[in-house]
């Protein structure tokens, strides 16, 4: 994983940021805000993924065009018809509305992409472990089980292949199905056997004999608290702006956009937090390196 300053913050900070970013991106349709969302999301996504990130971003482009173009086919409202398709008007307003919806979609994809990189499963479980220890333990165990199952399946099919069992390439569907069931059966008894040992191992280490606590490997530092405070402030002001109708955008039948205001500034600042942290650390590192 790349060195990213925001990823090193407390998982609670990471989580709340993404809740805010993704939450707002699904309600705000104002083009200025959408542009801010796309740009900041894309920049941070590229910082996290490097050159490989371009591939995903370019991959989103056809999706954007498709979603934009398809909206006017269903939505014929709008005062400026561009042309007629199947006897229905294809309007500019509906097209722009489509672009807005497509942008929302792209922003969501970008932030979810970042979320996956930043909030890894162990961070997520450790975050919720302190609130609901039992559920988070189950989650951890399930997460471990899936790759285990895949590995064991490969082992069983490999072992069967080396004694000439298992469906050949040209076997009929029925044979393949039969073989699959056999492997599944073996896998199940193997897993049950394993879970008995796991259960023993849990009870041997005192599982269930006291109220569970949760080991927090991450600690809230002063920076984390400060960041949390700034985030809350920016978020609150953006929400306030929204409540005063400053982010409202109407596309059909006629375009009517609210004038941009301080809400856009706070929103952009909010979304720039991870990028800013990343760049700040990169610069600091550069300076301290040049001092040596």
């Amino acid at each position: 994983m790349r060195n990213d300053a925001f990823s090193k913050c407390h998982p609670a900070v990471n989580f709340l940021f993404f809740v805010g970013a993704i939450g707002m991106s699904v309600v705000i349709q104002h083009p200025a805000y959408l542009t801010a969302g796309i740009v900041t999301g894309a920049v941070y996504y590229l910082l996290l993924n490097g050159r490989k990130g371009w591939k995903t971003i370019l991959g989103l482009l056809p999706m954007f065009i498709f979603l934009t173009a398809i909206n006017p086919l269903f939505n014929t409202l709008g005062v400026t018809p561009l042309f007629h398709l199947f006897g229905r008007p294809y309007t500019l307003e509906a097209l722009l509305y489509g672009a807005a919806i497509a942008s929302m979609f792209v922003i969501m994809m970008l932030w979810f992409g970042c979320y996956n990189k930043v909030l890894t499963s162990d961070k997520f479980t450790s975050l919720f472990g302190s609130i609901i220890p039992a559920i988070s333990l189950v989650l951890v165990m399930v997460l471990r089980m899936v790759p285990n199952f895949i590995r064991k399946t490969q082992q069983i099919t490999g072992a069967r292949k080396s004694i000439g069992k298992g469906a050949a390439e040209n076997a009929s569907t029925k044979e393949k199905l039969n073989d699959g069931m056999t492997v599944l059966g073996a896998l199940t008894s193997w897993a049950l056997e394993g879970s008995v040992v796991t259960g023993d191992s849990m009870r041997a280490r005192g599982y269930g004999c006291a109220k569970r606590s949760s080991f927090m490997i991450y600690r809230m530092t002063v920076t984390d608290w400060a960041l949390l405070f700034i985030m809350m402030a920016l978020l609150a002001s953006t929400v306030t702006a929204a409540c005063f109708g400053q982010v409202t955008a109407v596309f059909v039948p006629a375009i009517d956009l609210a004038p941009t205001s301080w809400g856009l500034a706070t929103y952009t600042c909010y979304l720039l937090i991870p990028t800013a942290l990343h760049i700040k650390e990169a610069i600091q590192w550069h300076i301290s390196k040049s001092k040596i």
């Binding site: 499963s121 162990d122 450790s126 220890p133 333990l137 951890v140 165990m141 997460l143 471990r144 790759p147 285990n148 064991k152 082992q155 069983i156 490999g158 072992a159 069967r160 292949k161 080396s162 004694i163 000439g164 069992k165 050949a168 056999t182 492997v183 059966g185 073996a186 008894s189 193997w190 056997e193 394993g194 879970s195 040992v197 796991t198 023993d200 191992s201 849990m202 009870r203 041997a204 280490r205 005192g206 599982y207 269930g208 004999c209 006291a210 109220k211 569970r212 606590s213 949760s214 080991f215 927090m216 490997i217």
Partner: protein, 551 residues
């Protein structure tokens, strides 16, 4: 006051129809003692160990009493037992509960409801003591078997137990990881004074350091003494367990030695030096040399190159070998060197991107799958469990052939006739290995590939397995075996190859191979090389000793 006091303990499983799994066991284990519990598979070792921790004690009929620190075990609270009695099991994988190393370390402390500050301190302490810092943040899935077992130990030690109970902890590990693990256990015993009760097959690494050895047979304690005396006792009783004793002990009694019995290689060397002050007359064991050319090899590998993924490093880097028909060919070498991959390449599970595999003179890709695996080639995988898919051993064997006579024959060869109606998972490690072997043999292979056949098997079962392999060899089957077990290879193989850096570096007969090595060789050779040469098994050393002494 003894740490653990067991008074006349009897136990029988509900399904055993009155047969006692533990029969009048009385023991007393002192604080800080290092006790090794040995016995054949099924002698009641695990049953006894599990009785020492209430949550793990199996259901069944139990009489007698167990006192922990003078208090009956049932009266010790669950919480105290969890913290004070640590228990490490056999399987490194299944014991782990969580997905991250740091989380696993903290698991026990979380269960006890410790506060953050204590947990932080203890986890940090344990990570440092066990050298886990470097992989503290790793996923459990990416650890090696040895690391996993060390993690299991560390996560129990984090609860600061007074007693550590280990049930065959190294049976799934390779020898190097195993001796690392056992050294750590010994360090814990010496540095922290934790009482250790351990069962093990690999006695060479434990016996010299244990304070006491307890031998069990059929649910009874048949001997309970210092390791040195146990060796003598088992020898005098002609007990099967004598085969499990460390090499120096076996050589000493095999040669009818007098005085104190050596337990370590060093003591063994000194003993031999005292016995042979002058150069011995018969110095070397006879050696066979390899023929220059092998005619009609059963298997020939030529310059195999293979890697798992396009960008990953090569695992096989020009593997070449020729295996004469009707021989037992052993491949030894370090962990992850590519030995198992070689076997996979032979049976076509992995396709080398360069090189040739010829089986009985015919390239492997020319064979049809049914032709290759029906009566030509078969492989016994490392974990025998991966071959079991049915509810009983009999059904599993019936999956291979309908011919009941053949099943009976093969079951007889592998000595599993009495186990046919059991569930494969109820068998012990050695029994599972033989049941899996039976299943593999039903394909009637002419070339048999074995991946670590002696893993997790005690010495008694190893001899049985060796007997079966010899019989197969006599019937004309060629066997290629990958193993970490140098003693086994030295004793039974016809040819041994060293696998290193993706290649077969040297190939020779076992005596010349191990006789010329000074590190990667058997204990018998290390112990005797200053007096004899080419003596690689305990039997070799005994034979030379007798020849010289008897004239």
């Amino acid at each position: 006051m003894a740490h653990f006091e067991i008074k006349d303990l009897n136990f029988s499983y509900p399904t055993a129809k009155g047969k006692k799994s533990l029969d009048g066991v009385s023991l007393s284990i002192e604080r800080g003692e290092y006790v090794v519990l040995c016995g054949k598979s099924g002698s009641g070792k695990t049953t006894l160990l599990r009785q020492l921790k209430s949550v793990l004690a199996p259901h069944g009929k139990k009489t007698g009493e167990i006192l922990f620190n003078g208090v009956p075990l049932e009266k010790v609270s669950q919480r105290d037992q969890s913290a004070k009695i640590g228990y490490v099991m056999q399987n490194p994988d299944d014991q782990i509960v969580t997905d991250k190393v740091w989380h696993e370390l903290a698991f026990g402390l979380e269960s006890l409801g410790c506060d953050q500050k204590t947990m932080r301190a203890r986890v940090a302490e344990m990570a440092c003591y066990f050298g886990i810092q470097d992989w503290f943040h790793r996923d459990v899935a990416n650890l090696s078997g040895g690391q996993k077992q060390l993690l299991n130990l560390a996560s129990i030690m984090a609860m600061q137990p007074e007693v550590l109970i280990l049930d065959e902890p190294t049976s799934q590990l390779d020898p190097i990881a195993a001796s690392d693990f056992l050294n750590t256990v010994r360090k814990i015993n010496i540095e922290l004074g934790t009482t250790v009760i351990i069962t093990e097959h690999r006695l060479e690494d434990i016996f010299p350091y244990a304070d006491r050895a307890i031998v069990m047979d059929g649910g009874k304690v048949i001997a309970n003494d210092t390791p040195r005396n146990i060796g003598r006792l088992l020898y005098e009783q002609q007990n099967d367990m004598f085969a499990a004793m460390p090499t120096p002990v076996r050589v000493f009694y095999g040669a009818n030695g007098a005085g104190d019995c050596p337990l370590t290689v060093r003591e063994g060397r000194n003993w031999l030096s005292r016995e042979f002050t002058a150069e011995p007359v018969h110095k070397a064991m006879p050696v066979q040399t390899l023929p220059d050319e092998i005619e009609n090899p059963a298997l020939s590998l030529k310059e195999l190159w293979f890697r798992y993924e396009k960008d990953s490093p090569d695992v096989l880097r020009g593997v070449s070998a020729e295996v004469p028909a009707g021989s037992l060919y052993a491949i030894v070498g370090g962990n992850g060197a590519g030995k198992s991959t070689t076997l996979k390449a032979i049976c076509g599970i992995c396709r080398p991107y360069r090189g040739k595999v010829k089986i009985f003179g015919k390239p492997v890709e020319k064979y049809k799958s049914a032709e290759l695996f029906g009566g030509c080639l078969a492989m016994l995988p490392q974990d025998p469990k991966s071959l079991f898919v049915k509810k009983t051993v009999r059904e599993d064997l019936a999956e291979m052939t309908k011919d009941e006579k053949r099943i009976a024959e093969v079951a007889e060869t592998c000595q599993i006739t009495s186990l046919l109606d059991s569930h494969p998972y109820d068998l012990s490690g050695g029994e599972q290995q033989r049941a899996a072997l039976a299943k593999v043999l039903l394909t009637q292979p002419k070339l048999l590939l074995l991946d670590e056949p002696t893993k997790g098997i005690d010495s008694f079962f190893k001899e049985k397995l060796a007997g079966i392999l010899c019989k197969l060899k006599e019937s004309g089957i060629t066997i290629v075996m990958v193993s970490h077990d140098v003693e086994f290879c030295a004793k039974y193989a016809d040819m041994v190859s060293m696998f290193f850096d993706g290649q077969m570096l040297t190939t020779d007969t076992p005596r010349r191979f191990f006789g010329n090595n000074s590190f990667y060789t058997t204990a018998a050779n290390r112990m005797s090389r200053h007096v004899f040469s080419m003596a690689v098994t305990a039997e070799d050393v005994v034979a030379l000793y007798r020849q010289n002494k008897e004239g």
